[in-house]
Symmetry: C2
Subunit: 541 residues, 2 copies
């Protein structure tokens, strides 16, 4: 039996149909690189015919040196009444320069006549012509049979006839779609088995999670002979989402012995999942299977020694196998290897056997315990490492800040911030307005620093996120603020702040961002004399 199951990722196309998920071309490029590192076989990048953003992605993704994944375009079969050669959509797919394509066609007779408004025969020709045309142009063709399971349940003969067109025209894959997401595992199993019996063309499965069964349905399909699973990272997608590849991969690979990604990449699952959440700016759900923060959390009431002695009897898989960590609440041992790994990535040597190393690890644990999170705030993390190693010097020192917000009647509120700090041997005291407390503080801070460091004016915030931590406790709940900054739109970095006061948390993140931007430039500041500063007019803006 062939034990290879191909992972077909559509995070960048179907995933972005999810409500509240929107990815820039930059975001998509970053995710494509990550998916390739994980080792998926296909990355569906978008629909070249549908918008210019997707076309830009296909142009830019060619510059990446992808190791595992084939970049795939998505599109529909030709419109009715035109030849494949004359169809704009199909032409755009060729123009996108991909070597593989997924095109979808209708399997359900009702949709052909009602939604599409054509005849059953014309639909068959549309499928045949489109696949043939793309094959003649040298592409690998995945035929996506839309609404296949619902269509089959209503009219099995017609549903199978559509597949026959694709197969005879040379399709490399027949991917069966549970488009409405309502099928049950036993139905999927039975229907996929029938298709696998009738066709020599390899079969794929594309499920949605409307019944909370997308993972189970995809596993059932593989059990019945499917060898390609389409899905998205974290199950992003329209309505209730698509099949979650982050759960499919370990279920298939660790429990059923299939090969989906190179075995050594399995431990990138947790990291990949969180990376995609960060880029999409979505809170990772703690209870997500395999990769969630709580997925391997053991309560204090359990016999810890027993867990450590025979963890496999308390855990369905080893957490390290998917890059997650066991959390035993009585001893916070987790995460140490992650820290060392991260320091290495930043070219900072961190030896946990030396005192500085131990102190830094201790410090980071303390900070994380307070709610800081460095996964998405690498600049704050790097500052912390340098501070711990003693090779960081302050470029400026804050004396005080103040925020004043006022609202009169129905008029708009006004916010003013003042900042007093020491930089370049001088005390600088500035004031600025903003559309809210954070914006005002950012303006005042920048004003204070840009006289000594004129290039700070080219730096600006690109992202600002607030999350409420420990939602449980009404009055004491903390917020975590993440700030992303850039200089000239090229380099960008992220910082974090935590406090019970949202203004203070934001302030912390802003300060870290400026510190990071100015790291190593303390000499420039000290070189400036008081006179020079006066001439540049920086005192008391």
């Amino acid at each position: 039996m062939n034990k290879h199951v191909y992972m077909y990722d559509t995070t960048l196309r179907d995933g972005t149909q999810g409500e509240g998920i929107s990815l820039s071309v930059d975001d998509k490029i970053k995710i494509a690189r990550k998916l390739d590192q994980l080792g998926v076989s296909y990355i569906e990048g978008g629909w070249p015919g549908s918008n210019p953003k997707d076309m830009e992605f296909f142009l830019r993704v060619k510059e990446l040196d992808l190791k595992h994944a084939k970049v795939t375009a998505f599109g529909s079969t030709r419109r009715f009444g035109v030849t494949a050669e004359a169809d704009d959509n199909l032409r755009m797919i060729l123009e996108s320069g991909v070597t593989a394509v997924a095109i979808f066609g209708k399997s359900w007779d009702f949709h052909v006549t009602e939604a599409l408004g054509t005849t059953l025969d014309e639909n068959l020709s549309m499928i045949y012509d489109s696949v043939r045309f793309l094959k003649e142009n040298g592409l690998e063709v995945i035929y996506d049979a839309e609404h296949f399971f619902d269509g089959y349940k209503h009219n099995p003969d017609y549903a199978l006839a559509t597949l026959r067109q694709a197969s005879e025209a040379g399709a490399d894959w027949l991917a069966l779609c549970d488009t409405n997401g309502g099928s049950l595992p036993h139905e999927i199993s039975e229907i996929v088995a029938r298709v696998c019996t009738e066709f020599a063309t390899p079969v794929g499965i594309h499920c949605h999670n409307d019944g909370e069964l997308a993972v189970a349905n995809s596993l059932a399909a593989v059990g019945a002979g499917a060898r390609q699973v389409q899905g998205t990272i974290n199950g992003f997608g329209e309505r209730c989402g698509n099949t979650n590849l982050i759960s499919i991969i370990p279920n298939l690979q660790l429990k059923l012995g299939y090969e989906c990604v190179p075995p050594e990449q399995l431990k990138q699952l947790t990291n990949t999942s969180r990376y995609v959440y960060e880029i999409a700016n979505i809170n990772p759900p703690n209870l997500q299977p395999f990769v969630g923060h709580s997925a391997f959390a053991h309560k204090g009431g359990m016999h810890v020694s027993a867990i450590l002695k025979a963890a496999e009897t308390y855990e369905h898989i080893r957490p390290e196998s998917v890059g997650n960590t066991r959390r035993v609440l009585v001893s916070e041992l987790s995460g140490q290897s992650n820290l060392l790994f991260k320091a290495q990535e930043l070219n900072i040597e961190l030896d946990k056997t030396k005192p500085e190393g131990r102190t830094i690890i201790q410090k980071i644990k303390e900070m994380e315990h307070q709610g800081y999170q460095y996964e998405g705030a690498e600049a704050s993390f790097e500052l912390l490492l340098h501070q711990g190693l003693g090779d960081y010097e302050e470029v400026f020192a804050i004396e005080s800040f103040k925020v004043l917000m006022e609202k009169h009647g129905e008029s708009d509120s006004t916010t003013e911030a003042t900042v007093k700090l020491h930089v370049g041997g001088q005390t600088v005291h500035t004031v600025a307005e903003g559309n809210g407390p954070v914006n005002a503080l950012d303006n005042a801070l920048r004003k204070a620093l840009e006289a000594v460091f004129p290039d700070i004016s080219q730096m600006y915030l690109t992202d600002y996120k607030v999350r409420v931590l420990s939602e449980q406790d009404a009055t004491a709940s903390k917020v975590r603020v993440l700030v992303e900054s850039t200089k000239d739109g090229e380099e960008s970095w992220s910082t974090v702040g935590v406090s019970t006061n949202v203004i203070e948390a934001s302030w912390e993140a802003l300060i870290d961002s400026m510190r990071y931007a100015l790291m190593g430039r303390q000499n420039e500041a000290v070189d400036l004399s008081g006179d020079e500063i006066e001439r540049q007019g920086i005192v008391n803006h």
Copy 2:
């Protein structure tokens, strides 16, 4: 074939093992009432032996007049080496006054000898004795076979022997637990079928979601003969959570023809799911199957007329059947019936055919579009209805407010708020401090009002929640603030505010809370003369 499948809810026990979920006794009573309305068969309330909070729940829940559900206690089999009669845990179960109990025992030989540290034979006696003792005391007994599937895979004979003890001692149910959550549907199916063949006692299933398969595994068990499904609302629970009853019920009842809850209660599923999220203070995930906000959202690009004509071909079930609503993004038609239903609950007549009715519906839609959410803010909703119907009079009017926050060096920050408002024919101007902007504003506002309404001093905030909306857009992201207030700790009410500025959003919610507390009392305020106010010393605190 018996088509009744009993829903055994353990939100109040296993659900609270989920990280970040903690429920007060009040919360548990509220949820129990809701579960009974939904029509589940069993409500597992807690472990009487484990803590006084659970015991208090069992005392208080008796006062509820539950229609459908049996309240169940949870506990373990007797300790080894003591008789069942002498076991404290079992005694506490009897004391709790329940009529049904779930007791768990060990099924996996390894856990008996290693974790429990006793012999395989003693474990069998522990099971037999405990079930017998509880049956002799007149209870319905559900025997929870912990780690049953893993145990069976390692030593099927011993696992079955443990069930035999429970069955022979008179257990009413044998509930098979996939405690580590790692089993796959085909395994569950095969093992449950074997148990159903060997035992006449009805079988239950208890799954965890570690493989993202809890719903599928529970369906597989029912398919193999199980007739009780244990789970929680929204799948709350330890690690990755338990089986989500909110998905199990419609899958079994709408798709497979089983009876789980009274058919007319199915449309309470969405409402029940969100109610439990609100009480647990957790953001409902938009993409949750069946009940999520996005579960029936159709993109604008689709042929809307086709959806409206033949929705069943685009949706796996009708959204109304589970109390959810279709959302067609081009026309925000949803939610109207919910509004009318809510108004009715508040004894406010709202006729959508009259102009006021239409205006109110329009207004609420606008507000919800801006990010307001009235599910968890009934006081704001009621104010809005009264305003729309023209029977609301302002008790006070805000002129202005101001917040000043300062931080010097490493010292703690200080926050001061001033409020200027008109009440009782006077202008009142107050100032107060707080540990953050919201606390300071609350203090200043209360100070301004309590001279005219002295009883406002008995009112205080019990809950404060901030959620960031539209996380996508960095600078324009809005926050929604929910505030819960109480007077004397008896009556309580919730209000909402939305703004890009967290202070303004909080202020809105605070103002609504005071307005609600003072609704209908405008005459008291106007009756007070300026002289009287001066004597009470309220001006310019």
